[in-house]
């Protein structure tokens, strides 16, 4: 069943504040084959926040994660993420179209720190392959 067009423009509630720990950054770096020597988190680390926001969105819309593939991802950073940052992500559905039985969901997520300052803006296209796609 196609996803409801009225979602376009809707923002979802911010994710619970997430404290970036050195341990978590080390785990992330290590999982991608690197070695963490302290300091800023890798450039793709904010996906942890963006993914949390996306999961909440998929849950709210009862969309099955296993039917989602990632179409594209962009980050633009105001500053690097560092251990000690307390971050939240707010997801907005930017666009929605249907192609060949798949929903192409354009999303943006703003990642902000405790003071409300933007740390990173991300956009992601999610391709939802329906059961009949």
């Amino acid at each position: 069943m196609p996803i409801d067009q009225s979602l376009v423009g809707r923002s979802f509630p911010p994710t619970e504040p997430y404290t970036v720990s050195e341990e978590k950054v080390r785990e992330f770096v290590s999982a991608t084959g690197g070695e963490y020597a302290g300091g800023a988190a890798p450039a793709t680390f904010p996906i942890v926040l963006a993914f949390d926001a996306m999961n909440a969105f998929l849950g709210a819309e009862q969309i099955d994660l296993s039917r989602i593939v990632h179409g594209d991802q962009k980050f633009s950073y105001e500053r690097p993420v560092r251990p000690g940052d307390v971050l939240t992500a707010t997801l907005t559905v930017a666009s929605l179209r249907q192609i060949a039985g798949a929903d192409i969901i354009g999303t943006t997520s703003e990642i902000t720190d405790e003071s409300g300052a933007r740390v990173c803006a991300t956009s992601a296209t999610l391709v939802h392959r329906g059961a009949d796609a």
Partner: protein
């Protein structure tokens, strides 16, 4: 830092091996537990050729290559399309290669065009990084 990056420079390709065990660790580290990255049956049931790497895992490898070339310069933009899935067979896994070219250096920004391939085929569309350098 990356002051040594000059327009037109070809950056030395870096090769990374991706195994299913890496995807399991990445799922833990990133929070992305989509079973298409771990379970062959689920991946096939949604029309994929087999277990595929998280797009964000491949993007993280691209970011690692950028980090090495730039000696850790701050990333201000990072983006790509996920155009072809990286299928990860059981056992020895697959190799992903990240190559790059310096496209532009201006106004304190260095733009890198990347080429990310698996088995000689491009897996990311227009992968690009902009550095503060």
């Amino acid at each position: 830092m990356s002051a040594s990056l000059r327009p037109g420079d070809a950056l030395p390709p870096q090769v990374f091996v991706v195994r299913r065990s890496d995807l399991v660790r990445y799922a833990e580290a990133s929070g992305d537990h989509n079973p298409i990255h771990q379970d062959e049956d689920v991946a096939r049931s949604v029309g994929l050729p087999g277990v595929i790497a998280h797009g964000m895992f491949t993007m993280a490898l691209a970011a690692r290559a950028v980090d090495t070339w730039s000696d850790g310069a701050e990333v201000v933009e990072l983006g790509c399309k996920f155009t072809k899935p990286v299928v990860v067979p059981d056992g020895d896994g697959v190799e992903v290669q990240v190559a790059g070219t310096v496209k532009d250096v201006a106004d304190g920004r260095t733009t890198l065009a990347l080429e990310v391939t698996c088995g000689g085929e491009k897996v990311l569309g227009m992968p690009r990084a902009v550095l503060r350098a």
